[in-house]
C-alpha cells in the first residue's frame, strides 16, 4: 500500500511538473523581453530628447544669428530681410510616415548646411575677419551638422533596416551668382527659413516622442507575443 501510494505521488508530481514547466518558461522569456522592450523604449526617448534639446538650442542660436546678420548688412536690412527667395529650402517637413519625416528633417539639414556654406562665403566678402557674424555662422552650421548626425543616428536606431533615402530633388540646388544686394537678401532668407524649419523640427520631434517610441514599444510587445 505504501508503495502504491508513493507511485501515485510521483506520477502526480511529474504531471504537475510537465504542466507548469512550459508556463514557467513562457513567463521567463516574456519577462526578459519586456525588460528589453522597456530598455529600448527608454533609449528611444533619451535619443529623441537629446535631439530635441539640441534643436531648441540651435533654434535659439539662429534667432541671435539673424539679429547679428541684420546688424551686419547695413541700413534698411530689417525691410529687405523680409523678401522671400525661391532658392531656399522649404521649411516644412515632408512625408507621412515617421521614417519619411525624420528622413526629411535630415535631408533638409543637409540642404541648409550647403546654403550656410554659401552664405558664409558671401559674407566673408562683406565682413571683416573679426566680425561676430562669421563666427556665429560657423557655430550654427556646426551645430546643424551635429543635429543632422543625431537625426541620422535616431533614424538608424528606429529603422535599422531602412537606409536613409536620398534627397528627392537630387543634390542641393544653390542659387546662381548674385549681386551683393541679392546675397544679403538671400542670406537673410536662408537664416529666417532655417529658424522656421527648426521650429517645425522641434514640433515634429515632440510629436515623434509620443508616437515613435511608444509604437516601438508596442511593436516589440507584439513581436514578443508572436513568438
Amino acid at each position: 500500500m505504501n508503495g502504491r501510494v508513493q507511485r501515485m505521488s510521483f506520477q502526480q508530481f511529474m504531471e504537475l511538473t510537465t504542466t507548469l514547466l512550459p508556463l514557467l518558461l513562457v513567463m521567463a522569456v516574456d519577462s526578459t523581453r519586456t525588460v528589453a522592450a522597456s530598455s529600448s523604449n527608454q533609449q528611444c526617448g533619451n535619443s529623441l530628447q537629446q535631439t530635441l534639446k539640441l534643436t531648441r538650442f540651435v533654434q535659439k542660436e539662429s534667432v541671435l544669428l539673424i539679429k547679428t546678420y541684420k546688424a551686419a548688412q547695413g541700413e534698411m536690412s530689417e525691410l529687405f530681410c523680409k523678401v522671400s527667395v525661391n532658392d531656399v529650402p522649404d521649411p516644412n517637413i515632408s512625408g507621412l510616415e515617421p521614417s519619411e519625416r525624420i528622413a526629411s528633417i535630415y535631408t533638409h539639414l543637409q540642404a541648409f548646411m550647403a546654403h550656410f556654406k554659401r552664405v558664409y562665403e558671401q559674407q566673408t566678402d562683406l565682413q571683416l575677419p573679426s566680425s561676430p557674424l562669421l563666427g556665429e555662422l560657423t557655430a550654427v552650421s556646426s551645430r546643424s551638422r551635429d543635429l543632422a548626425a543625431l537625426m541620422n543616428g535616431f533614424y538608424q536606431s528606429l529603422f535599422p533596416n531602412l537606409p536613409m533615402p536620398e534627397p528627392a530633388g537630387g543634390p542641393t540646388m544653390l542659387p546662381p551668382p548674385q549681386n551683393v544686394f541679392q546675397q544679403k537678401v538671400y542670406g537673410c532668407a536662408v537664416l529666417r527659413t532655417y529658424k522656421e524649419f527648426l521650429s517645425n523640427v522641434a514640433r515634429e520631434l515632440r510629436t515623434l516622442k509620443g508616437k515613435v517610441c511608444r509604437r516601438r514599444m508596442e511593436t516589440n510587445t507584439f513581436l514578443l507575443r508572436m513568438t
Binding site: A72, G74, E75, T124, L126, Q127, F181
Partner: protein, 979 residues
C-alpha cells in the same frame, strides 16, 4: 576730299567760254557738296556698362563735323545733342559718350548726321541701346550693381520698377533720394559727395507703392584708393628679405575689393589689417611695392645692402648655470649665419620687479655671465641681439628664462638693546630680509657672555623671533663689568657672523630733550666727531608715549660720519618720536643727544577738561593737560573763547602752555559759555566748552545798603548835632519870635481873645501855645480861599465883607499833631511848609452877621455830643457860610466820583469845615471825623482854637477831658459872641 579751284580769264573773246566754265564749276561744286554731306552710315553702338560709356561709330564719308543726338527712347527726351568734330580712323568715325545714368536704366536712341557749316545731311538711322526696362524684363531692378566709388564721388542710381507696380521711393543708406523719371518704369536719383561705406557696403533700396513687399536694390562700396607708408625691407637670416609696410589709410574696402600688393611684381598675399609683411627669398637690394584696388594704386620703393638691414631673430633654447652669487646664461641661434657675425646683445635681468640691463658683445655671442646676484633669489632673464657693425635694430627678445641662485650663509643680524627703567630690557634685532638671509632662516642663537670670565649663557630662538629679554639683576651673577650679548642667524648653509652689543649695566641718566624738525629727507641729526666712537653711532627712536618694552627702531651710522637723516616707513603723522643718539665703542654705548619731534603735527585729538567757578563777578576757567598721546603736536597754547550763540569770540590767547587757567572779569549776571581750545602748529582742537550762570552777589548788595544807611545816619547825626549846636540860630531863622503887638496905651497882656483885623475874606487866628517854649510857637495859617474856587455853593452865599471879621489870636497851640495834607494841592503844600516849620495856624473864627441860628445849632450839636457838622451843614445850606477849603476836592477825580454825597453833604451843610479835606480819602474816618469833628461852623465871629483841626486823637483827648474842653469851648464861645 576732292580739291577744286576756280580761275578767271581776262580775255574778252573768251566770254562764252568763261561762262561755260563757270556753269561747269557751279555744277561741280553742287555735285561735290552733295557727296560730302552724305548721311552717316553703319552707325553702331558699343556700350561699356561698367563705365557707363557708349562708343558710337559710323561711316561719315569725308565729313568731319557731325551732329549727334541721344534720346531716351521711351519718353523721347534728348539726353545729348551736340555738333562734333570727329576725324575718321580708317574711314570710320568714333565718338565715346559717357552717360550720367547707368546704361541699364533705360533705352537710348542714337542718331547722327553730317554737318558742313549750316548745311546738314539727313539723320542716320536711329540706333537703340536697349535698357533693362523693357517689358520683357518685368522684375524690379536697381543700377549700377556692386559699384566701387571713391569717397566724395557723385553717383546716379536708377530704379526700374517691377512691371505693373508704381514707383514709391529710392533710398540711399536709409535716406530718400530725389528722383527724376527716365522712362515709364525707370526713376533715377543722384547722390553727391558720398561718404565711406561700411564693410558690407551702402544699400540702395527701391520701393514700389507696396512698400512692405519685394523691394529691390543694389549695394555701392565707397572707399579710398590705397595709401602706404613705412616700407622697408630687412633680413633675418642674411639671405632672404622681409619687407614691411603700413597701410597709412584704411581703404574701407574689404573682401574682393581690398587692395592687392605686389613686391617687385610678385604678388604678396596679405592677411593683416594695418601692418603688412611680404617675404622675398633672396636679397635683391631694390624693391618696389605696388598696392592696387578698384579706386587706384600706390607704389613705394626701398633699397639697401643686406648687412645694413640685419634684424636678428630671438635667441632660442636659453639655459643657465647657477651659483649663489652669479650665473651664466646660454642660448642658441636659429641661423648658423649668425656664428660669424659680430653681435651686440642686451640682457635684461629681472628680480622682484626690478629690471637691470646688461650689454655684452662678441662674435656669434651665445652666453653671458651675470655677476653680483644674490643667493636664494629668483631671476628672470631675456636676451636680444643685433649686428654690431652697421647696427640696424635690435632683434626680438628671447622668451623669458627664469632661474634661482643657490643658498648661502645669512648675514649677521643688526642688533640693539633697549633698557627699561627697572633694570630689565630686551636685546632686539632686525629680522633678516630675503636678501640678507640668503635662504630660509632656521633660527637665532642668542648668547650672553663675559669676556673676562669666559662665561656664557646661550639660548636658541625660532626664526620669527626678533627680541630676547634680559634682566640686569640676573646678569649681575656674571660679576663682570662688561657683558656682551651676541646673536647669530642660521640657515641650511650655516651660521652668520655674530652680531654683538654691550649690555649697559648701569642705567643711563636721561638728558634734556630738544626739538627735532622733520624735513623732506627725514629727521636730520648731527653730532660732533668722536674718536671714542670706534664702532660709530646709533640713533634709536621710539614712540614718546611708550614707557616700557618699547618697539624701538634704530639706525647704525658708521664711524666718522657725523650726521644722518632718520627715515622710517613706520613714521606716522601726529606721533611724537623721541630720538636718542648713542656713541658706540667697545666699552658700550653712551647717550649723546635726545630729541623729540613729529613727522607731521596734527591738531590735538582730544580737548582739555574745562571747569569753571565764579569768583564774585569774575569767572575762573581752569583746565587740565591734554594727554601726550592726544596732543599730536607740540602745544603752542590755548585760545579762550566766549561762546555767544554759534559764534566764538576770542577772549584771550594764552601762548604759555603751562598756564592752564584764566579769569574772565567783569561779567554780568546770567549764563555764560566759554570754550578753550588748545592749538598746535596744525591748528586748534575741537575745544572744550563749559557754561556758568553768574548769580547776584548778595553780600555786595547788603554792603551797599548798609553803607547807604550808615551814611544817611551819619548825615542825620551831623545835621542834628549842627542843629543842636545852632539851635538858637535855627530858632531865630526858622522860628522867630512873634513880635508882640505894640499898641498905644496899656495893652497889657491878658488872657483872652485878641481880635485882629484879618483880611477882607478870612480871619487868621494865630495861637500861641503857652506850654511851648518860644521856639515852638506855631502859627497856623488858614489860607485865604479864592472865592471863585469856593464852589458853586458859595456863589450865592453872603460873604461877610460888610464888616471886618475878627481874628482871635491865642498864644497857645490848638493841636499838637502836625498837619498832614492828603491832596497835593496848593493848600496842602502851603500847609506842608507850615508844618515843616512847626507853625500851627488855625482858624479861630469867622465873624458873620447872622449867627443866632448857628448858636442854636451849635448848642444842639453840643447837646447831641459831637454832631456839630451835621448841624452846620443844614445851617450852611441855607446860609451859605464861608467854606474856605472846599476847592480841595475838585482836582481829584476819585473824589469827584466817590464823594458826591459828602460833597452834597458838605454843600448842604454849608458850615465852615476848614480841615474837612483830610477825611475825604477815608470815608470812615471822614464820617467819623465829619460826625464828630468839632466845628465852629458859624458865620459868626467865634474865637475858636480847637474846632478847626479835627483829629481822632484830639477827639480822644476831647473825650478824655470833656469837662475842660466843654468849658473852654464854652468860654471861647462866650468870648466870641461878644460884640
Amino acid at each position: 576730299m576732292p580739291q577744286f579751284s576756280v580761275s578767271a580769264s581776262s580775255k574778252s573773246n573768251c566770254c562764252p567760254l568763261w561762262l561755260i566754265w563757270v556753269l561747269l564749276g557751279l555744277s561741280a561744286v553742287h555735285t561735290h557738296a552733295k557727296d560730302v554731306l552724305g548721311v552717316p552710315q553703319q552707325v553702331s553702338l558699343s556700350p561699356d556698362r561698367f563705365s557707363r560709356q557708349l562708343s558710337i561709330s559710323w561711316l561719315g564719308g569725308a565729313a568731319t563735323t557731325f551732329d549727334l543726338m541721344i534720346l531716351r527712347t521711351e519718353l523721347n527726351e534728348s539726353v545729348f545733342y551736340e555738333t562734333l568734330s570727329v576725324n575718321p580712323v580708317s574711314g570710320q568715325h568714333l565718338w565715346n559718350w559717357t552717360s550720367a545714368e547707368p546704361l541699364e536704366c533705360t533705352s537710348l536712341s542714337i542718331k547722327v548726321r553730317s554737318r558742313d557749316g549750316h548745311m546738314t545731311s539727313e539723320w542716320s538711322n536711329t540706333q537703340i541701346l536697349r535698357g533693362n526696362d523693357l517689358p520683357s524684363n518685368d522684375k524690379c531692378q536697381v543700377y549700377p550693381l556692386d559699384r566701387v566709388v571713391p569717397v566724395g564721388a557723385n553717383t546716379t542710381f536708377c530704379c526700374i520698377v517691377e512691371e505693373g507696380k508704381v514707383f514709391d521711393d529710392l533710398f540711399y543708406s536709409g535716406a530718400v533720394m530725389n528722383t527724376t523719371r527716365l522712362s515709364r518704369r525707370t526713376y533715377a536719383g543722384t547722390v553727391v559727395n558720398q561718404g565711406p561705406s561700411s564693410s558690407s557696403g551702402t544699400n540702395v533700396v527701391c520701393y514700389n507703392s507696396l512698400r512692405a513687399k519685394e523691394p529691390c536694390g543694389t549695394v555701392v562700396f565707397v572707399g579710398y584708393p590705397p595709401l602706404l607708408s613705412d616700407f622697408v625691407c630687412e633680413t633675418h637670416d642674411l639671405i632672404s628679405a622681409v619687407c614691411h609696410w603700413t597701410e597709412a589709410r584704411d581703404t574701407m574696402l574689404y573682401g574682393k575689393r581690398r587692395s592687392s600688393y605686389s613686391l617687385n611684381k610678385r604678388d604678396c598675399l596679405q592677411r593683416g589689417q594695418k601692418h603688412k609683411v611680404c617675404t622675398v627669398d633672396h636679397w635683391e637690394g631694390n624693391w618696389t611695392l605696388v598696392a592696387v584696388n578698384f579706386l587706384g594704386q600706390y607704389s613705394l620703393n626701398d633699397s639697401a645692402e643686406i648687412l645694413n638691414r640685419v634684424h636678428l631673430v630671438a635667441p632660442t633654447k636659453v639655459s643657465s648655470v647657477v651659483n649663489a652669487w652669479n650665473a651664466t646664461v646660454l642660448w642658441q641661434w636659429k641661423y648658423r649665419s649668425y656664428s660669424s657675425l659680430r653681435l651686440v646683445c642686451q640682457v635684461e635681468l629681472t628680480c622682484n620687479g626690478t629690471k637691470t640691463n646688461l650689454t655684452v658683445s662678441g662674435v656669434g655671442l651665445q652666453s653671458v655671465v651675470l655677476s653680483d646676484l644674490y643667493p636664494e633669489e629668483d631671476y628672470s632673464v631675456q636676451v636680444r641681439c643685433g649686428a654690431q657693425l652697421n647696427f640696424w635694430k635690435w632683434g626680438n627678445w628671447s622668451e623669458p628664462f627664469t632661474f634661482k641662485t643657490d643658498t648661502y650663509v645669512p648675514e649677521a643680524p643688526d642688533v640693539w638693546i633697549w633698557m627699561n627703567r627697572d633694570n630689565t630690557g630686551r636685546i632686539v634685532w632686525k629680522p633678516l630680509t630675503r636678501r640678507q638671509s640668503h635662504g630660509q632662516i632656521t633660527g637665532y642663537e642668542f648668547t650672553l657672555w663675559s669676556a673676562e670670565e669666559n662665561v656664557q649663557h646661550t639660548q636658541i630662538f625660532s626664526p620669527g623671533t626678533t627680541a630676547a629679554p634680559i634682566n640686569l639683576t640676573q646678569i649681575a651673577a656674571f660679576s663682570s663689568d662688561k657683558i656682551i650679548a651676541t646673536i647669530i642667524a642660521k640657515n641650511v648653509k650655516g651660521s652668520s657672523q655674530p652680531a654683538s652689543v654691550v649690555v649697559p649695566l648701569r642705567l643711563t641718566e636721561p638728558i634734556a630733550l630738544s626739538r627735532a624738525v622733520y624735513t623732506e629727507r627725514g629727521f636730520p641729526m648731527t653730532w660732533q666727531s668722536d674718536a671714542n666712537a670706534t664702532c660709530g653711532h646709533v640713533v634709536e627712536w621710539i614712540d614718546a608715549v611708550c614707557t616700557r618694552d618699547c618697539s624701538v627702531e634704530w639706525i647704525k651710522v658708521a664711524a666718522g660720519q657725523t650726521n644722518v637723516s632718520v627715515v622710517s616707513a613706520n613714521f606716522q603723522p601726529g606721533v611724537r618720536y623721541i630720538f636718542s643718539l648713542y656713541s658706540c665703542s667697545s666699552e658700550g654705548r653712551e647717550l649723546l643727544q635726545r630729541q623729540q619731534g613729529y613727522v607731521q603735527e596734527l591738531v590735538p585729538s582730544s580737548s582739555v577738561l574745562l571747569s569753571t567757578s565764579q569768583q564774585n563777578s569774575d569767572v575762573l576757567l581752569s583746565w587740565g593737560e591734554i594727554p601726550l598721546l592726544n596732543r599730536r603736536g607740540f602745544l603752542l597754547g590755548y585760545n579762550v573763547y566766549n561762546s555767544t550763540g554759534s559764534e566764538l569770540k576770542l577772549l584771550v590767547n594764552l601762548p604759555d602752555k603751562g598756564n592752564r587757567s584764566y579769569t574772565v572779569k567783569g561779567l554780568s549776571e546770567g549764563s555764560h559759555k566759554f570754550t578753550v581750545k588748545a592749538y598746535t602748529s596744525a591748528g586748534e582742537d575741537t575745544g572744550a566748552t563749559a557754561s556758568i550762570t553768574l548769580e547776584l552777589y548778595a553780600d555786595w548788595l547788603i554792603l551797599e545798603i548798609l553803607t547807604s544807611l550808615g551814611i544817611t545816619t551819619l548825615f542825620l547825626v551831623i545835621v542834628s548835632f549842627i542843629c543842636y549846636k545852632k539851635r538858637k540860630w535855627v530858632k531865630k531863622a526858622f522860628y522867630p519870635d512873634i513880635p508882640e503887638p505894640k499898641l498905644p496905651g496899656d495893652w497889657s497882656r491878658r488872657q483872652g481873645p485878641l481880635d485882629v483885623k484879618p483880611s477882607s475874606h478870612s480871619i487868621m487866628h494865630i495861637v500861641e501855645k503857652p506850654e511851648w517854649d518860644s521856639s515852638k510857637e506855631a502859627l497856623v495859617v488858614i489860607p485865604e480861599e479864592d472865592e471863585d474856587e469856593e464852589g458853586q455853593g458859595m456863589g450865592d452865599e453872603p460873604v461877610d465883607t460888610d464888616e471886618p471879621t475878627s481874628l482871635s489870636y491865642y498864644n497857645q497851640v490848638v493841636d499838637e499833631r502836625p498837619i498832614r495834607p492828603r491832596f497835593p494841592d496848593s493848600s496842602d503844600s502851603s500847609a506842608s511848609s507850615l508844618d515843616s516849620a512847626r507853625t500851627d495856624v488855625t482858624y479861630t473864627g469867622i465873624q458873620t452877621s447872622g449867627s443866632s441860628l448857628v448858636f442854636q445849632l451849635d448848642s444842639q450839636a453840643s447837646a447831641e455830643g459831637h454832631q456839630p457838622h451835621a448841624d452846620m451843614s443844614v445851617n450852611g445850606g441855607g446860609g451859605g457860610d464861608y467854606r474856605p477849603q472846599m476847592q480841595a476836592r475838585a482836582p481829584s477825580d476819585d473824589i469827584a466820583l466817590v464823594s458826591p454825597e459828602p460833597f452834597i453833604e458838605a454843600a448842604s451843610g454849608g458850615g465852615y469845615k476848614p480841615q474837612s479835606s483830610w477825611h475825604l480819602d477815608s470815608p470812615v474816618e471822614g464820617e467819623e471825623s465829619g460826625g464828630r469833628a468839632p466845628s465852629l461852623g458859624s458865620p459868626t465871629s467865634v474865637a475858636s482854637t480847637q474846632f478847626l483841626l479835627p483829629d481822632g486823637e484830639e477827639d480822644t483827648e476831647e473825650r478824655r477831658q470833656p469837662s475842660s474842653s466843654a468849658t473852654t469851648w464854652f468860654t471861647n464861645l462866650l468870648s466870641s459872641t461878644k460884640p
